[in-house]
């Protein structure tokens, strides 16, 4: 793909990574960003109902995803679309989720950005902060009990460190030495709440000290540093040396979600300051120093991503709503009589009614 910029004094690529690896990471981060851009745009255009993005946090996702293999599990929050993509959840599947259409794996039941990928070992995302943390530990306990191979990466934000499930998750992991890695994406905000109002501790990684295992803080904008730390944590977990709390220090460069207005609680300068360490730029600079950078990456990968995205959006939008009978399945493995009655009642009497438009009913 075109010629490389040749650097005069090449640094070696660290952590056992190849040039191809670096390119793959860069490309995955570009795709993540393009995906987020599109998500917000679709929301602003009123084509999807909600979006929450990870702008500025791409390295936390791709660095940790790159450390995983098929046996590993990812228990994420709503802010890791890059992981789902990298794990191989088809872009079309993700777009169908954003449109909550009839092809959506979860049948339009969840808000956008709540992905599910059984095959990818990507747990169905919850909106409830923190619940996946202890669940991830339980999954890792399961791996250990069964003597299987694999580790669990369980993601959380700085805000989530205050949640009950963080405490129980960290504690159960410490006691059981389950093969789990807590990926703490410290983007310094929980909606409007800054870290200083979330905890009195200076370094979030220090929270591991309460649970008897290792916590380390890593530059979350440097995908190579993230990858190295994740690999190290994974090696320790697999060797039975216990869990790791990996604090990835970064910055939520966008709004909390499409419902949020960050100008109410922080300045544009602050955000610009952080963007000087944009994870894409950080990796680009690394690649330049390794002598493996190609200027076309910047444009090609974006174009490639946008083409895929445009296609996926078109297809997702062409698909209608889930059919009404999806309202009544998957509550249990069977359909209870009560639910069957409710289905029957609605199907018999309301199919065809224009329920969205209540205009016919005067107030």
């Amino acid at each position: 793909m075109a010629q490389k910029t040749v650097s005069s004094s090449k640094k070696p690529i660290p952590h056992g990574l190849s040039a191809d690896d670096c390119v793959a990471m860069y490309r995955a981060m570009v795709l993540t960003r393009a995906y987020d851009d599109r998500g917000f745009k679709l929301q602003r255009q009123g084509r999807i109902g909600f979006y929450a993005g990870s702008f500025g946090e791409e390295a936390t996702q791709i660095g940790t995803a790159y450390a995983g293999d098929e046996a590993d599990w990812y228990f994420t929050s709503y802010r890791q679309p890059g992981i789902a993509l990298f794990r191989g959840l088809p872009l079309q599947t993700m777009m169908d989720n954003l449109f909550c259409n009839s092809r959506d794996v979860v049948k339009g039941r969840q808000m956008p950005v709540h992905y599910t990928g059984r095959q990818q070992h990507f747990l169905s995302v919850s909106s409830v902060i923190g619940t996946q943390i202890i669940q991830g530990v339980g999954c890792a306990m399961g791996i250990k009990i069964k003597g299987d191979r694999g580790v669990v990466f369980t993601y959380l934000g700085d805000g989530a460190t205050s949640a009950n499930d963080f405490h129980s998750g960290m504690n159960f992991a410490g006691v059981t030495k389950a093969p789990v890695i807590f990926v703490l994406v410290n983007n310094q905000y929980a909606i409007s709440t800054p870290l200083s109002k979330q905890t009195a501790v200076e370094v979030l990684a220090d929270k591991a000290k309460a649970y008897g295992f290792l916590g380390i803080q890593v530059d979350g904008n440097d995908v190579l540093a993230v990858y190295a730390a994740a690999m190290d944590a994974k090696r320790r977990a697999e060797a039975g040396e216990g869990p790791t709390l990996l604090e990835l220090k970064t910055y939520r460069a966008g709004p909390h979600s499409s419902s949020d207005d960050p100008s109410r609680y922080r300045t544009e300068e602050q955000t610009q300051h952080w963007l000087e360490r944009d994870p894409l730029t950080v990796l680009k600079n690394h690649m330049i120093s390794f002598g493996i950078w190609d200027d076309t990456y910047e444009t090609c990968f974006v174009e490639e991503a946008n083409a895929m995205l445009g296609d996926a959006v078109k297809q997702a939008e062409a698909v209608g709503e889930p059919s009404w009978d999806t309202l009544f399945t998957d509550v249990y493995t069977y359909k209870s009589q009560t639910l069957a009655d409710q289905e029957q009642d609605i199907m018999a009497h309301e199919q065809g009614l224009d329920l969205k438009n209540e205009g016919e009913f005067p107030l």
Binding site: G108, H114, L327
Partner: protein
Amino acid sequence: MATATTETKTMLGAINQALFEEMARDENVVVLGEDVGLNGGVFRATEGLQAQFGEDRVLDSPLSETGIVGSAIGMAIYGLKPVAEIQFADYIYPAFDQIVSELAKMRYRSGGEFTSPVVIRTPYGGGIRGGHYHSQSPEAYFCHTPGLQVVIPSTPADARGLLKSAIRGNDPVIFFEPKKLYRSTKQAVATDPEAALVPIGPCHVVQPGTDVSIFCYGAMVEVVQRAANKAASDDGVSVEIVDLRTLCPLDVAGIVASVQKTGRAIVVHEAPKTCGYGAEISATLAEKAIEYLEAPVVRVAGLDTPFPFTLEYVYMPHPARVYRAIQDVMAF
């Protein structure tokens, strides 16, 4: 009704006003919750409070509902009057233990020596395309918990008047705010801080009628009104609409009186039907008014499933479904 004494407000505006008024009235009133300070709450219900009353009395809490309610109980024991915000009712569950085990039982278990009259405000209900975890209606859990009062307004004026009563009272209140109505309608709201308080306890007959009583609350009142209008105009059915306002303790006399008059009853709520609040209304009538009942007591409720996103308009009770229930009980 001089224009000088009222101002037209949304429900959010009315809630915000009530908080301003009560914080100004009583320096023991404090507000706490996630993002309630600088950000004014994700719905802006607490907008401006921190600027006015300072960071001591308007606290941005860490992300822990356990902590919000637990610390509020401690503050109340000390003599403050905490008004805690839970960002969405869907996120009240991490605080469930503090609410059910502690808040509800403190007075009883201490023989009245300790009390914790905390007010917990929380937006609830569907209709805003919030899906699974931004739409739930968990009121029945709290109504089944002796020691709690459960209050739900359906208009801006009621929201202000009930919230003020809740803050002035000496018993804990779970105050559910129908977020679908936050900005959807405006109403004249009293501006005199001592005017137009709405008492906790009695239900409110929104529209008297003679053929069928419909019990409802929150965003469902409007849905019922639409259905009742159609029933009146199309079928000449006279619907009595009863807005419960206080779900717990229930105004038993009020609902029984209504059914003694009409002989037919429907309950409408958004929460799943099974063991929902409607069951209590039906059961109360089956126990105390069966001789007046000329038709089955019908519950129009949310489905017995989690709350969906795309199809929420099918899931939630809507005027057509309520209208159908009216037809059914009239035809019985």
